[in-house]
Symmetry: C2
Subunit: 423 residues, 2 copies
């Protein structure tokens, strides 16, 4: 019967077996110590004979559990027998049993198959799996239905730039840059409240610590809203729920990264400022003239929110019309849209959408679009669509900011950028 | 305060409001009846004046709740005021308030934006959202971690055929036909147990009721298994969990489709036969010579399982080597692999994988592959990978078979086939 590393302490005096990867070998001659890693943690094995296997080999060790205050967890296994399930080659390209802080990002990503074995790195994705779970749980708790929309779209509806082309039999299609139109279609279909956890694709040639060409978008769309503030309220409930569960259920991961999540009491103070107010604050604090809120501005606004409201998040709303897509609900020369910044980084874009067919038709030409070119989309509104809106949270950015990672690529299992399409 | 259709009965005598889509209008002159549809169901509105709006318009109705045994749910709203939130054009391309049984599949899919409003059709996707939820819940309950792997792969590793090409900046990449290599990489990384809910792409020119070119794959991979029977055991636990929750939580949907799910007591009898035994059974029952188990054969085997074991599922294992991919664990001329058929349709392919580096290297040339061409994949095994295996369940096929839908495309929100890339 296999026992996990973290359960060994409950079996003092018993004969058990453990299975996992050989994390570290320390040969002292008379006695040899092995750290064995499994999905629950690390346990120390003590062997009299010389270990005849390499680091990272997969083994099953049989033996007796005994107390040892110096062993990880306070107990160790005195080995009676070893079975090697898979021998590892001795030329590991990067070290697995050290802090990855000494490795470059390129080394970590070029050797992704191996770097994911490093416990600290693997824990990023345990946290990320938690975020996905907590998000879904919260949405279902508010009666949202999960949808799975197609990522292959026949026309580049949000604008032809920034789309990857797919050779689809005898024609070309595109990879969707968001499930925007599909989630709106589902709200209008009568589902009213939908969410999607899926891939989004951006064919943009950026090379920054905040961009990925393929990422996971946590998408939300909600019918019968009064204004975009209903959406900001909803997002705060979602994030509160995610942060609370991360704090409760992912303590180990937070500790590894010396990280924490905002407290509920602070979140309640999250300020909501207009785009114009945002520019003014940035201008005052930097002494520069501000034309738009760029990454530096996002950091300034988060600093301001922390100083003024004691919270690491800030909503910016009322973006100018020309800075938002055609489907954004206008309000004079502004829009009923918003961004949310967290720890200096935009993690959400959202807003109320145009739901009136006539207003949509009037708006299209201003963006160089036609009803013919967007016929499926326009059908959504031609036959009755309630007031609605939504937003999307970037999963990797949220993960990055919770753990304080320097680059968003660290928060993607197999990141894709302009140069990187493997492993 | 908005009240939902299904809550109206609890508000007799009160003045409330309801919001939704105008499902049906019956004008009798003195008195007019409206059926209003919201995400919870349908409620009857009674108006004295002539309704000044079209079917499918989105309205909010204010009024008083009163008892009426003839109204849906036994209560109706005597309307005092109506607010039209969005007017629908009067030329609906397909009827929304009738049984979709009279519509062709092409009509349903060409007008997908509208056909998703048909309550019976929309309910397919409420059930599907449930399956996704129950699957995730079950996997987490067995300590599996959810992963999100890239769908853009640098080389066509499972064989160059059947892959869609993507123009990725100045090179070509492919859409992944499964997360196979990534889930194996994550098992070998030490996560041991992973699952993924994600899109899979097959560039195959089939035109059948059982194929989609883009579908959602419920993927599972598990380390430290003894044999492929551990995987079949796991899959039965997953399906039992899904079927039980569908039966408990999706009664309304099952009733609409006059459908049911297998009982736990029957599932426990699910037979496991070898590929050779399967061919023999098909041959005996059809009187034909059988070279492989084709769709007709899958139906015959499910009939046989029902007659012999009283269950609508059957595992077929020990497929010949040449019928399985290179990574399948061999056993003489057979493999430790399996399919699961449910109600006449294959819904799962799975098996134990080769985890020994030497065995893998020996196997590659037999499939025309090289270590150089698969270097990232081979790295997984070069540095220690435990015995493992996994499988994938096709979400749309499972949905289709639970509800008895004639075509798998009915179980995809926005299906993609050779001709269809919209809406």
């Amino acid at each position: 019967m296999r026992i996990f590393a973290h359960e060994v302490k409950g079996h003092e005096g018993s004969t058990i077996s453990v299975s996992g990867w050989v994390h570290r070998i320390r040969e002292l001659g008379q006695v040899n110590f092995i750290l064995l890693r499994d999905r629950s943690g690390i346990v120390q094995l003590v062997m009299d004979e010389k270990p005849g296997f390499t680091q990272e080999s997969v083994i099953t060790a049989f033996g007796t559990v005994r107390k040892n205050g110096k062993a990880p967890g306070g107990f160790e296994l005195q080995v009676s027998n070893i079975q090697v399930l898979a021998e590892a080659a001795p030329d590991l390209p990067i070290p697995v049993n050290q802090d990855p802080g000494n490795l470059s990002l390129d080394a970590i990503l070029d050797h992704r198959i191996i770097s994911l074995r490093i416990p600290k790195i693997q824990n990023i994705f345990k946290l990320q799996a938690g975020i996905v779970q907590y998000f879904g749980d919260h949405m279902r708790g508010e009666d949202f239905i999960e949808i799975k929309s197609s990522k292959l779209i026949g026309s580049g509806t949000e604008g032809g730039t920034g789309l990857f082309t797919v050779e689809y039999f005898d024609r070309k299609v595109f990879l969707a840059q968001s499930p925007q139109f599909y989630k709106q279609a589902m709200v209008a279909s009568g589902m009213e409240r939908v969410f999607e956890i899926g891939a989004a694709y951006r064919a943009e040639k950026h090379e920054t610590p905040r961009h990925l060409n393929e990422y996971i978008s946590l998408d939300v769309e909600m019918g019968f809203i009064d204004s975009e503030h209903d959406l900001m309220d909803l997002e705060m409930r979602i994030l509160t729920s995610i942060f609370n569960r991360v704090r409760e259920e992912q303590q180990d991961v937070l500790r590894l990264f010396d990280a924490s999540v905002p407290e509920e009491s602070a979140l309640d103070n999250t300020p909501r400022i207009s785009h114009d107010e945002g520019k003014e604050i940035i201008s005052k604090r930097t002494g520069k003239r501000v034309f738009e809120i760029n990454p530096e501005g996002e950091r300034v606004l988060c600093d301001w929110a922390m100083e003024e409201y004691g919270v690491e998040l800030i909503f910016v709303h009322s973006f100018p019309r020309k800075k938002r897509p055609f489907y954004t609900y206008p309000e004079g020369q502004k829009t009923k849209s918003f961004d949310l910044m967290f720890r200096g980084l935009e993690i959400t874009t959202g807003g109320k959408r145009i739901n009136e067919y006539d207003m949509l038709l009037e708006n299209l030409p201003k963006f160089g679009l036609t009803e013919e070119g967007l016929s499926d989309y326009c059908t959504i509104f031609k036959y009755g669509c309630p007031p609605h809106g939504g937003f999307a949270i970037g999963l990797e950015r949220l993960t990055q900011k919770i753990l304080g990672l320097a680059n968003v690529k660290e928060a993607s299992l197999f990141p894709r950028d302009r140069r990187r399409v493997r492993p």
